[in-house]
């Protein structure tokens, strides 16, 4: 690859082991153009968003990626141009006739390297779509470009590793069933020690009404999120279980390949049918919520179950929860995929106001929130410097809130990214974690 992207690239053998076909370099151009032709006929968004841009540049100052990295190609319209210029050259009459005049450019040996470099510096946060006069969503271009790269066998090692774990165990971390059960038992004993109550985390319990899909990180680092959810279900008397076959709210397919997304989503449908559940509740994962809520029907529908986010469920039952407000001052980081892509905006706020003494808002918030910088799976260690730049706007926002006791970051990627970002920008004393963590701590359920 002529342009050296800032992340490790997956090896051919590993990519092929996942079921992808690896296109040799000499055939890459033809295959890429073939994929572009196919996708433009199958996805209206690709054509309309590439062709409607008037190059006004309003998106530049609204994109945390451009503001943080100060790299021209991270400016949304310029990022889209990496694709648009090729698209115009081969698929539009004006591009074919007028060439450079109309903004068309040939596919060169640098093209795919640039795509890999810059489409993996877009967090797919959709903030640009909020400020574009036409509502052009650069995240959509990114998603499609990454899909084309993957179909050519080109993907970051990080994506391939996660997908391999997903295929093998049904979760991103590669946690096998025995470990799921062991971890669940450990958390049960922790809760027993804390509350004196026998709160269960049932795994693969048949005839459950509710299927809860946590993020696999809730079974490794973000234990309090899982505990908070378990406590809530216990108090409500919910007949719930966790499926060991799909212990993953995340769906990395949304972040690099549609077919992988479909396969992971299909597991959800299968697990729900097997365990007889009528309600699926997704845990604290941003893009996973977007994938489940917005893509399930199209990918594997129709599905017979109700689908809610854990925050929607908690909000619905909030009045029934015995909560004792924690004497802390918190602020809420709105994950992009909740606020802009998933419709979870006011629910977390209602929950927080019932659980803590004081909730302060950062600015901007809700649908104008800035991404944490880790969105769309940009969590590779080797991209640390870039990740810190991507998180710069968010760090500034959090610093500006002033004195707070706890930062609510209700998404697994945010939980992986923000501790590193805040440490980098001198705020490592700040305690942070999920929303269900707070619910768990505020639930007044100790055995007296």
């Amino acid at each position: 690859m002529k342009v050296k992207p800032p992340m490790y690239i997956a090896k051919q053998s590993d990519v092929e082991a996942l079921g992808f076909s690896f296109t040799p370099e000499v055939q890459q151009k033809a295959k890429a153009l073939e994929k572009m032709a196919e996708l433009r006929s199958k996805m209206r968004s690709l054509m309309v968003m590439l062709e409607t841009c008037t190059k006004c540049g309003n998106c530049a100052k609204q994109c945390h990626s451009f503001l943080g990295t100060e790299d021209y190609y991270n400016f949304p319209a310029a990022r889209a141009e990496l694709f648009r210029r090729i698209y115009k050259r081969y698929f539009t009459l004006s591009g074919k006739i007028f060439g450079r005049f109309a903004g068309a450019e040939d596919f060169t040996e640098e093209t795919l390297g640039k795509w890999l470099t810059y489409y993996y510096q877009c967090n797919e946060c959709r903030r640009c779509a909020r400020f574009c006069p036409f509502g052009i969503d650069t995240a959509e271009i990114t998603i499609i470009a990454r899909h084309i790269l993957s179909e050519l066998g080109i993907m970051p090692k990080f994506m391939q590793g996660v997908a391999a774990n997903m295929a093998k165990t049904g979760n991103n971390m590669g946690i096998p069933k025995a470990a799921v059960i062991d971890s669940a038992e450990f958390m049960e004993s922790e809760m027993r020690e804390e509350t004196g109550l026998d709160i269960k985390i049932p795994v693969d319990k048949p005839n459950s009404n509710v299927l809860y899909i946590p993020s696999s990180a809730d079974f490794f680092t973000n234990v309090d999120t899982m505990i908070g959810a378990a406590k809530m279900f216990h108090v409500l008397g919910t007949n719930w279980t966790i499926p060991s076959s799909v212990l993953e709210a995340a769906n990395f397919g949304l972040l690099f390949d549609f077919n992988v997304m479909q396969e992971h989503n299909r597991r959800l449908k299968v697990a729900t049918a097997e365990l007889g559940a009528s309600l699926v509740i997704q845990g604290e994962c941003g893009h996973g919520w977007r994938a489940a809520k917005m893509y399930t029907n199209a990918l594997n529908g129709p599905v017979p179950f109700r689908l809610l986010h854990i925050h929607e469920f908690c909000d619905e039952h909030l009045a029934k929860l015995p909560l004792k407000k924690l004497p802390i001052r918190v602020t809420l980081h709105d994950p992009c995929n909740y606020a802009r892509a998933g419709g979870i905006i006011e629910q977390p706020r209602r929950i927080l106001r019932a659980c803590v003494a004081e909730l302060v808002e950062m600015t901007p918030n809700r649908e104008d929130t800035f991404c944490c910088g880790g969105g769309s799976g940009i969590l590779m260690d080797e991209m640390f410097d870039i990740r810190m730049k991507l998180g710069k706007k968010k760090a500034e926002q959090i610093k500006a809130v002033g004195n707070i006791d706890y930062l609510v970051i209700p998404c697994s990627i945010c939980k992986a990214q923000l501790p590193a970002v805040l440490k980098y920008y001198g705020m490592d004393k700040l305690e942070m974690g999920g929303l269900m963590d707070i619910v768990g701590k505020a639930l007044d359920i100790k055995k007296t």
């Binding site: 309003n58 006739i97 199209a298 606020a339």
Partner: protein, 261 residues
């Protein structure tokens, strides 16, 4: 030459404009929208969607949220353009007497028609110049721009300058222009009035119509189609309708053996 510009070119330009634009949009509409791309906060009803889209088209809400100055000049550009077009139709057809329809005297109507033309023309010209300047002086916008982006600004400037010249500096035979336009619309074209600025203005507008379907001016339709996509009603689970392929609950055969993406 004048025969071509006055009696042949307009038909070619109109055909290319209409057919070209329709074809481009037809290609878009032929492709499905496999996944709902709702941008939240979203509307919950189709009426709500239309309101959201309508507000964007009328007031450029999203642009205003970002850069107030860009919003102001872009909005002024478009609103003045709308009134210029309406003014041309009314002013030429009614020979500047259009305001007699709402009770003004013929004399007042002509003056009013003239003033409105001048004002909107000046606003349009000013907006073009501001946007041109902006495109040249903001580094990332300049780097982003193609020759086509400057071309369209230049073309519009030439059109408005020739138009303003006729408005302010010369005596155009308006009845002759009306007769010429009527000839074109009734498919009985007559020779173009031998007024060089008018001929230039007319020719430039025809070039604009010819160029339209191949350019970013398609954003006129693109805004509606794109915003229709991002305001799509979010899916519900399980699908409410009996036929799950309706509305936002449709499923596509993405993986049934033939349809991988």
């Amino acid at each position: 030459m004048l025969f071509f510009i006055g009696q042949v070119l307009p038909y070619i330009a109109a055909a290319v404009f209409v057919i070209g634009t329709c074809l481009r949009v037809a290609v878009w509409l032929k492709a499905p929208v496999p996944f709902p791309l709702t941008l939240f906060p979203a509307a919950n009803t189709n009426t709500g969607r239309m309101l959201l889209i309508g507000r964007e088209i009328l007031f450029f809400d999203s642009l205003r949220r970002g850069d107030k100055w860009l919003w102001l000049w872009a909005w002024l550009l478009h609103i003045s353009l709308v009134f210029i077009i309406i003014g041309h139709i009314a002013g030429i057809y009614y020979l500047t007497k259009q305001f007699t329809l709402i009770g003004f005297s013929a004399e007042t109507s002509s003056v009013l028609s003239g003033w409105l033309g001048t004002i909107f023309g000046m606003v349009f010209l000013a907006a073009l110049l501001v946007l041109f300047y902006r495109r040249l002086t903001i580094p990332e916008v300049k780097r982003l721009s193609d020759p086509a982006d400057y071309f369209i600004l230049g073309l519009l400037l030439a059109i408005v300058v020739t138009g303003m010249y006729m408005r302010l500096a010369s005596d155009v035979d308006l009845p002759a222009v009306r007769a010429f336009m009527a000839g074109l619309f009734t498919l009985h074209p007559v020779p173009i009035p031998k007024h060089w600025v008018f001929i230039s203005h007319f020719a430039l507008v025809n070039i604009l119509l010819l160029y339209f379907p191949f350019s970013k001016l398609i954003h006129m339709v693109g805004i509606i189609i794109n915003r229709a996509m991002i305001t799509e009603l979010p899916p519900v689970y399980p699908p409410r309708r009996v036929n799950p392929t309706q509305g936002s609950n449709r499923s596509i055969s993405l993986g049934e053996g033939g349809c991988r993406l």
